[in-house]
Amino acid sequence: MNEVPPPAHILISSIQHLLLMVTSLVIPILFASQLGATQEFTASLIAFSLLAAGIGSIIQSVGLPFIGSGYLCPNVCGPSYFGASLAAAWVGGMPLVRGMTVVAGLVEMALAPLIQKLRKLFPIYIVGLVVAMVGVSILAPAITSFFGLSFRDDAIRSIDMLIGGVTLLVMILANLWGSRLVKMYCLLIGVLVGWTLACILCPEYWNDLVAAKGMPVVAAPSMGPAFGGITFSLKILITFVVIAIIGSLKSFGNLLAAQEISEPDLKGTDFAPIRKGLLADGLSTVVAGLLGGMAVDTSSSNVGLAGATKVLSRWISVAAGVIFVVLAFFPGLIVVLSAMPKPVMGASLIFAGSFMVTTGLQEMFSESWDARKTFVVGVAFFFGMSTAFLPSLYARTPHIMQTLFTDPLATSTIVAVVLNQVLGLDAVFRRLKGKGD
């Protein structure tokens, strides 16, 4: 985790992580398209988001004394904030998005010191469940991308399935049967093979790459008039606070997974780096708001990739962060990386997500099991997955449930934590009775 690999190895591994990180650029692109924004606005939003995510990744992993986990756990544009940011943009434009993103970041930072107090709330088996659900949370974008879809209900092309299938197969086979070097770069190899195949078989993907030709090579991100100022609104404060809490829980899961992968010999959970990691996550979100980018979050898929390749040096995350910062000044390169064919993107997310899910399950079943844990995990899993299978059902529930039961990760975490406390009341009662006797 702390060793410094040779420069070439750092560079190639960070590019490998970068290829996963750029998949998150779809969030500012989608955000701008929902607003009907101009190309200049979109370019600025991507550039500022890259800057924020890059700075966040560096702070998270470089090993500063009071902030940052020191794990390979880079920052990307956070999907959790997408809906709330869009609502803020409607009400008050980018100034309000910036202001509310800063508020959300501050809430995340305020929550960080409390994480140590959560030790009893998050026993190992619940931590495992949270980590597994982090993997599940990327299921929808991973599968829709794998089938080459931009819109969920659109037609699926056989060629996209072929590209996605070949990419995933190359990644898996490189990981299973490759030499040490091939194993380390299995995702990069898969992406290169898949991308080449896509450009040969499908002119559309080649044309997406050619679009970068007209872009300026180097350009400083400019803050246009749409980004000017920072404003706040009490009306949408609660929404942002709730999302900040959910974002913290997600980052908590990511950091726990990163710790599990990076320090497998650790007995129990070491909350100090997780607290520092959450603080860095919050600060990165504040930076994103100040710069004018989308809110950032820790990346589940990159933690999964680290687990898959067993390459865990935090310097790779730092290098990926530096490249993200540099990329913000190269709009042509951003267009090239954003043009990664959807099936290749989907295969990469499935590959990384597989490790998240299995790491969580291994963690969950690593300790002795009993009926109480069965009900805590089982019931939490049922309610968590129900938000994905039956989203319309929750639209008819009381408002508080609609706010908390938003997706599988947040829902299963809340239900598991509450059930663990409730079903553990007998032990508390026994302890109290013992003291009384």
Binding site: Q34, L35, G36, G83, L86, A87, W90, V91, F151, D153, D154, A155, R157, L197, C199, I200, L201, C202, P203, W206, K235, P391, S392, Y394, A395, R396, Q402, T406
Partner: protein, 315 residues
């Protein structure tokens, strides 16, 4: 001898030696495969002359290509082409859509999904909302702002009985024998393409320009092409007063549209008017809430101004 040979030359020889036999064959096979794939990828597409950039969804683009292919067969082979369609019926009915051919008078000549319609005249057939589907197709083919002659109506699936919303595109074909044909195909439960909305709003503007205030009755008619599924062309004045309501067939409730806010608290009509100060048309969005979804739903609003007559129309 080898000891005197420079490293680079030795390296080249060893590489060349290594490429003999099975390795060489393997490398050659890869090269041939790559060349084949490049050849496939580099071939010009038969759809190069079709502009499909205005469509967001692949389903829509696929349908236009599907109907276009059939129109090329008929314009090239004429009556023989029609016989070809009839003898290869299954090729012209996919899971998503099917092909049909009419003559200019509305008599069905070929229907991949409902062969029982062949030989029947459907000129006057109307859907459940009173839309004369074939007449609308003929009208759409003459409309320059509707390049693929889209028509929105209700129909039913072959072998079934319940109505399904449908969007069909059409191509006019003149066979080598000089016969005028209408070739079309439709998609059930179509995606809401912004292009569909642009077509009806632009057509409404043209109608008002041609007929003035008289056109408003036709635009508000639910049986017209200006009202379909949950889309409706409506008209309002610069001060927000409604001429045709976006929701009902009356303006009894004089809500001022400029005062209307969406679920995110924005005023979409105020924003649209602001942009229209320097543009002829504007695409906007507003957020709506469904009782069956926890998330807000994004809806599209296309607004065009017509400065000469104080009216604006949008969907």
């Amino acid at each position: 001898m080898d000891e005197e040979t420079p490293d680079s030359v030795r390296g080249f020889r060893s590489t060349a030696r290594g490429l003999h036999g099975p390795r060489l064959r393997l490398a050659l096979s890869f090269a041939v495969l790559a060349a084949f794939l490049v050849l496939i990828g580099g071939c010009a597409s038969r759809y190069d002359e079709l502009d499909l950039t205005m469509y967001k969804y692949r389903d829509t683009r696929n349908l236009v290509k599907f109907v276009y292919d059939a129109s090329r067969i008929l314009s090239r082979d004429g009556e023989a082409g029609l016989s070809y369609l009839q003898s290869h019926r299954k090729d012209f009915q996919t899971e998503g859509f099917y092909l049909y051919v009419y003559d200019a008078a509305g008599t069905n000549l070929f229907h991949a999904g409902m062969p029982e319609l062949e030989g029947k005249n459907l000129w006057d057939v109307k859907d459940k909302d009173g839309k004369p589907a074939f007449q609308l197709a003929v009208q759409a083919m003459k409309d320059p702002s509707n390049p693929h002659a889209w028509v929105q109506y209700s129909w039913w699936e072959p072998g079934s009985f319940y109505p399904v919303p449908k969007a069909s595109c059409h191509f006019a074909v003149t066979t080598p024998e000089g016969r005028e044909l209408v070739v079309g195909g439709g998609i059930d439960y179509p995606h809401e393409e912004p292009e569909f909305i642009r077509i009806v709003v632009d057509d409404a503007v043209s109608l008002i320009e041609r007929e003035g205030a008289k056109a408003l009755t036709g635009i508000a008619d639910p049986a017209s092409e200006f009202v379909y599924r949950d889309v409706r062309v409506f008209v309002f004045r610069r001060d927000g007063e409604m001429v045709i309501s976006p929701a009902i067939n009356s303006t009894f409730s004089q809500t001022n549209l400029l005062e209307c806010v969406d679920e995110a608290g924005q005023k979409p009509f105020v924003q649209a008017l602001e942009t229209l100060k320097s543009a002829d048309s504007v695409w906007g969005t507003f957020m709506a809430k469904s009782p069956y979804d926890t998330r807000l739903k994004r809806k599209t609003l296309y607004t065009r101004k017509r400065s000469c007559s104080r009216t604006k129309r949008s969907t």
